[in-house]
């Protein structure tokens, strides 16, 4: 199984390498100027050259993303539990949440600066929280309520109360929904943090490194910062996948062709 998984890594790695090679070759061959599109090797040079600045920026932006992620997730999950318990609140709140979720929340970043201050990190964190909150809330609430009616009847036939049903059925049922939300919001939190940084906050973060270097036409440095941001996003995404595997072993079961047994 481990060998199979490692083998699964080969195609994307090969594709990635080919892509970088084509990029490098294309820029050199077509004589594209560096300020339009720097070569991967130039970006790599800047990445190593500016590493202390970039590492610091990536770390700080990552912290904004993760802290906003944690607060947004906790708030979303809590509200989901609340609305599951009080159905009437749910009926009023969920359509509203879906509507708010469809609006581009990052557009609020300048306004959040006015509310939470332009120099601190609070405003940036607030943008991340707002972006993370809605998908987590909507998906978790869905998982808590969309339970097969037979499963509820079965629990009632055991004379189980609402709390037992919540613990034994609703919460495990909601886990895959929650995991989907996590997979969505983990990379989103990095995007939200960077866009928020374009508009304000401390000046040593990924967002500001990108804008200021682009402003001085040092596009290779800006690209290097983007590479760091991608790495942070990927790391968060990978952590959610890992969490999913650990918390839901049953989801992996049955993928190895063991389900073909006859009655």
């Amino acid at each position: 199984m481990t060998v199979g998984r490692l083998r699964g890594l080969v195609p994307p790695l090969v594709t990635g390498a080919l892509f970088l090679a084509a990029w490098e070759g294309g820029v050199r061959g077509l004589g594209i100027r560096e300020f339009l599109l720097p070569k991967p090797t130039s970006i790599w040079a800047q990445l190593t050259d500016q590493w202390p600045t970039l590492r610091h920026a990536g770390w700080e932006t990552g912290r904004i993303a993760v802290s906003g992620l944690v607060v947004g997730i906790i708030a979303g999950v809590l509200l989901a539990f609340f609305t599951t318990h009080f159905r009437t609140v749910n009926e009023g709140l969920t359509p509203l949440a879906v509507a708010v979720n469809a609006t581009p929340i990052v557009a609020l970043a300048p306004i959040f600066n006015a509310w939470f201050g332009i120099t601190g990190t609070l405003s940036n964190q607030a943008v991340v929280v707002a972006v993370v909150f809605f998908p987590v809330f909507i998906n978790t609430a869905k998982g808590l309520t969309e339970v097969h009616p037979d499963e509820i009847e079965l629990m009632r036939s055991y004379a189980a109360g609402e709390w037992t049903i919540l613990r034994e059925v609703r919460i495990p049922n909601a886990l895959p929904f929650f995991a989907n939300a996590l997979r969505l919001v983990a990379p989103l939190s990095v995007i939200a943090a960077i866009v928020a940084e374009y508009f304000g906050g401390p000046q040593d973060r990924i967002g500001n490194v990108i804008t200021s270097n682009a402003g001085f036409a040092r596009y290779d440095v800006a690209w290097a910062a983007i590479a760091v941001a991608s790495a942070v996003g990927l790391a968060l995404f990978a952590s959610t996948l890992l969490l999913e595997r650990v918390s839901m072993p049953w989801r992996l079961a049955g993928r190895d062709g063991e389900s073909t047994t006859k009655p």
């Binding site: 037979d150 079965l154 036939s157 079961a253």
Partner: protein
């Protein structure tokens, strides 16, 4: 103890009373089921057979009449966990291994871990899946899942088993196999079974009595007594079995034509 397993007296069930979509699901239903009996409910869709089963299980309340299970109101019987329930959808919890699914009702009753494990093993033997306790449900075929569902329903030794089209989603061969298994389990445990189906052959093969229901509102049209003695796979080709099936089929036809 000669008290009846189930006594349904003049039961009526109306859904959405007073609303525009008011539906009379059952009306004037009387039925007594003796301990150890295997009773099947059959009828066209909308005849209220699933509703009837849920009234017996106290998952629904009758709008009129009374339901007694083992001499007490259905509600008390549910709180006492006097019955086990099996649905068409096996309803196993994906997140629990097979053995843990069977142990769930025992866990809720506060059994110790060792007792639960021992009973789960017994039940897996009973449904002939001794090696599958450590599997997750989704690793099992539909027929196997339904067997686990039956094991779960029987794990706490209820005196009554309520089954709502439990084999409805299975292919014909699996279905016949499961019917044989169910009869064996029924003989071994002595449980009373109330079984909902819309398969004529299934009802004839399984039961002592077949209750034929007519729709809108659901009423008992007739009751067909089936006496096939000990069922084996040969029973399916027995002239007696065909006679019973024909009798049920004719009752169902007159339900469709008449009323």
């Amino acid at each position: 103890m000669s008290e009846a397993a189930v006594v349904v007296t003049d039961v009526e069930k109306v859904f959405g009373r007073g609303s525009a979509e008011e539906v009379m699901a059952l009306s004037g239903v009387d039925l007594t089921i003796q301990p150890g009996e295997f009773v099947t409910l059959i009828g066209p869709s909308g005849c209220g057979k699933s509703t009837f089963l849920r009234l017996v299980g106290d998952l629904l309340e009758p709008t009129a009449g009374s339901v007694d299970v083992f001499g007490k109101p259905a509600h008390q019987a549910r709180l006492d966990q006097d019955y086990g329930m099996v649905f068409q959808h096996a309803g196993l919890f994906d997140w629990r291994k097979v053995a843990a699914n069977i142990e769930l009702p025992l866990e809720l009753k506060g059994w110790t871990k060792a007792d639960r494990a021992a009973r789960a093993r017994e039940m897996l033997d009973l449904v002939k899946l001794p090696d599958f306790g450590g599997h997750y449900p989704r690793q099992l075929s539909g027929g196997m899942q339904q067997r686990v569902s039956i094991a779960r329903a029987l794990s706490f030794e209820p005196r009554l088993l309520l089954m709502d089209e439990p084999f409805g989603a299975l292919d014909e061969m699996t279905r016949e196999h499961m019917q044989g298994e169910l009869l064996r389990i029924w003989r071994e445990t002595g449980t009373t079974v109330v079984f909902v189906t819309h398969s004529i052959s299934e009802s004839a093969f399984l039961s002592n009595r077949v209750v034929v229901l007519s729709p809108r509102p659901g009423r008992i049209h007739s009751i067909v007594e089936v006496d096939l003695g000990e069922r084996t796979e040969d029973t399916r080709e027995d002239p007696q079995f065909f006679r019973a099936s024909t009798e049920i089929r004719e009752a169902l036809r007159s339900v469709e034509d008449g009323s």
